[in-house]
């Protein structure tokens, strides 16, 4: 009998091997492993894990189906709350949401909720289990802007309620950050993202790519000329931020968004695709979030020596523990308590290095984290050919600037109510990074759900 205090380990690609390829890192559970792990669930009556889930999946409910070997039944339970389980099972920060609340976790390992969700979802994709469609259309037309996590979730939920939903996507591929941001080795595009979007299509949702709202048409025109009765804005975060230090426009300095977009969306890592990427031989990634880890691990796979340069210490790294752990295993070097002051440029305009300064932690700042303070006289130079800035984004102004009556806040994020996504403009709802600034896939999905609820209340109540 296995030790019930320990979770069933999940198989992963060897760190040395995967550092040289773009195949998925984690292999996931098979059915036996999943059933064994599911048997560790205590099936709590007042389940704390559900409270930790932004979309409130009935976690004990689906896990008990897995325990019985009824995987299709488990998929139906998850499908009641989430349209994208294969994605969430991979990229949600379960350790700080559902799993950290697990009663099993008090004495031993919490139940591997994320890996179980992923197993169930992958099983449904492999066996082509259909999601449950609306019984009949209700005749109301809703437009969703953006096909990222919040838009897909909102569209899926509304379609299940019988709405006629069209999703408008600015890029040439569907999925938003799921295709341009998160790398293949963490979230396979063909096997997972495309197939999961197919499920949303099966619910009857229509998609139109290459439509930039605010440019190709506007929200007001969608409502006046194309008869959409309500609009959900899930346009995501926007313009990448830079540090404002000398040398930042040199060749070889990229935003993480550009580096990742070239590799993920445009598939520059694959020699068969036309888009180039200046991969670099000695790369520094500035920042410590999940995006920084993605950029670092991408550069590593493209053959570079990679440094994460972060001004605080390891405990403050905003990235998921699992991502930091994987990055270290693969050979990413962490230069913590280090902050760039200047990018050094050669005579041809290319990066040749970076001047950095050591930091130490002072008193806690507004975020509650100890504020990094420069150590005088501790500057030194790093020899580099590529610098990737991963400092977050500021909202894209395209929609706010072309929509009359849409209120934005001081940080230029769209103002929307948390519980229903309602904005200052009638019939217009919003959620995800466009509202919160850069956050996580699951929070965006939660906002997409809230937006669908708000739109449904609005359109069914009149």
């Amino acid at each position: 009998m296995a030790d019930v205090l320990k979770r069933v380990p999940v198989r992963e690609q060897d760190a040395k091997v995967r550092a040289g390829n773009f195949e998925e890192v984690c292999y996931g559970y098979n059915k036996e492993e999943a059933m064994e792990e599911a048997s560790r669930c205590l099936n709590c009556k007042n389940a704390k894990c559900v409270q930790g889930c932004p979309v409130a999946i009935n976690i004990p409910g689906f896990i008990s189906k897995v325990k019985d070997g009824d995987i299709e039944g488990a998929y139906k339970v998850i499908g009641g709350s989430s349209a994208l389980p294969a994605i969430c099972g991979r990229v949600c920060p379960q350790e700080s949401q559902c799993e950290c609340k697990c009663i099993r976790g008090i004495k031993g390992d919490p139940v591997s909720i994320g890996k179980l969700e992923r197993f169930v979802a992958d099983y449904a994709l492999e066996h082509d289990i259909k999601p449950e469609k609306a019984e009949k259309a209700n005749g109301h037309k809703v437009a969703v802007i953006g096909s990222g996590p919040s838009g897909l979730t909102c569209a899926g939920d509304l379609a299940k309620l019988g709405y006629e939903v069209t999703v408008f996507e600015a890029l040439h591929e569907l999925g938003g950050v799921l295709v341009y941001g998160i790398p293949e080795f963490r979230l396979p595009k063909e096997k997972v993202v495309k197939k999961e979007i197919e499920k949303v299509k099966e619910l009857g949702v229509k998609f139109e790519t290459n439509v930039v709202i605010g440019k190709s048409t506007t929200i007001d025109q969608l409502m006046e000329e194309e008869n959409f009765e309500a609009v959900f804005i899930g346009s995501g975060a926007g313009l990448p931020m830079f540090m404002g230090i000398p040398g930042e426009t040199a060749n070889g300095v990229f935003s993480a968004n550009e580096y990742l977009t070239r590799s993920n969306l445009m598939k520059a890592f694959d020699e068969n695709y036309d888009t180039p990427i200046a991969a670099g031989k000695k790369v520094a990634v500035i920042g410590g979030g999940n995006v920084a880890m993605d950029a670092a691990r991408t550069a590593l796979r493209l053959g570079a020596e990679v440094h994460i340069v972060y001004r605080r210490s390891e405990t403050e790294l905003p990235a998921r523990v699992e991502e930091v752990h994987h990055a270290k295993e693969e050979g990413v070097i962490f230069n913590l308590l280090t902050n760039p002051t200047e990018i050094l440029v050669d005579e041809n305009g290319w990066v040749k290095g970076m001047r950095v300064i050591r930091m130490e932690l002072g008193e806690p700042d507004a975020s509650g984290r100890r504020r990094p303070v420069a150590v005088p006289g501790s500057e030194f130079e790093m020899e580099l050919d590529t610098v990737i800035m991963s400092l977050g984004t500021s909202p894209n102004p395209l929609i706010a600037s072309t929509t009359d009556g849409l209120e934005t806040n001081r940080r230029k994020c769209i103002v929307a109510e948390e519980e229903n996504g309602r904005t200052s403009k009638a019939a217009v709802y919003a959620g995800g990074d466009a509202v919160t600034g850069a956050a996580t896939v699951i929070l965006a999905m939660g906002a997409g759900k809230a937006g669908a609820k708000g739109i449904h209340e609005y359109l069914s109540g009149r």
């Binding site: 926007g238 830079f242 968004n257 598939k267 020699e271 180039p276």
Partner: protein, 295 residues
């Protein structure tokens, strides 16, 4: 899919295509651009809009094959399709939102170089349709490479072709033509220069001396074109600007052209490799040092 309704070669170097893209045609204004992708594996290539027909739902693009992707574009015939065609992107030219009576009082000079004549055309045409006659200088290496002559003559107030080799029109660079016009006593309130960066740089150096406010249309490397990646960033008046959402048109006297030209070289070696691969096709065996050949 976006159908090519007409495809023709304007001269040895430059191609014109009329593409069915109703959403773009309905909303575009002079000064904006599109992003075009030929197929699944292609790059996203920004191209300026040369003309548009709102009724027919079509956009006219004019381009010069330089990298591997635009070479592939050049092979497309009438009836073929682009996989993706996005737009209109960027901000419209400033004059589009100006008071029309004020605009009519202004003396405007356009300077186009090479394929830059294409984005100049819809601006001059728009002005003509709104009762404003603008002077237009178009420069090119020689007569054979000059494009859109008939079209430009039809909408320009006065039209001044220039050729470097003197084979047609004014002999010499566009800058000498500007000087000549100013010496003749023409006073311009604004100059709009579109063409190779090196041309725009020298036009700006001259117009700064002549104290003519000058707008340039920048064409840096782009990826998404919607403000997401920052590849197109430029230094304008010491500030970082994104050409795709803040531009593409900027105050030419504030643009750091030297920085912009260096940034344009960024993928020269990678692009060179892609061209090589395209030309060599199946016989490509890793000589580019990039792909490891067929191994």
């Amino acid at each position: 899919m976006y159908k090519i309704l007409e495809s023709r070669q304007l001269n040895a170097n430059i191609y014109l295509m009329v593409v069915e893209a109703p959403r773009v045609a309905r909303h575009c204004e002079p000064g904006q651009f599109v992003i075009v992708k030929i197929d699944e594996i292609g790059e996203r290539i920004p191209l300026t809009i040369c003309d548009y027909d709102r009724e027919a739902g079509t956009i006219t693009i004019v381009f010069q094959p330089v990298g591997a992707s635009t070479r592939k574009f050049a092979e497309l015939k009438t009836g073929d399709v682009f996989r993706d065609f996005t737009g209109p992107l960027g901000c419209p030219s400033e004059f589009v939102s100006e008071d029309i009576e004020t605009l009519k009082q202004k003396k405007i000079l356009f300077v186009g170089g090479g394929v830059g004549a294409a984005p100049v055309y819809p601006q001059v045409k728009w002005l003509k349709e709104h009762g404003v006659d603008a002077d237009v200088i178009i420069g090119s290496k020689n007569k054979e490479l000059l494009i859109l002559e008939k079209e430009m003559e039809a909408v320009a107030g006065r039209y001044y072709p220039c050729t470097d080799d003197g084979s047609y029109g004014h002999a010499g660079m566009v800058t000498t033509m500007i000087e000549e016009l100013v010496e003749e006593g023409n006073q311009y309130d604004v100059c709009i220069a579109i063409g190779p960066m090196i041309m725009m740089k020298f036009v700006c150096l001259l117009t700064k001396k002549l104290e003519i406010p000058t707008i340039v249309s920048m064409n840096p490397i782009m990826v998404d074109g919607t403000g997401m990646c920052g590849a197109c960033r430029l230094l304008v008046g010491g500030e970082v600007k994104f050409a795709c959402v803040d531009g593409p048109e900027f105050d030419g006297h504030l643009v750091d052209f030297d920085n912009a030209m260096k940034r344009q070289q960024m993928y020269k070696s990678e692009e060179g490799r892609a061209v090589l691969k395209l030309q060599e096709g199946d016989t490509h065996h890793g000589g580019c040092g990039n792909c490891g050949g067929d191994n």
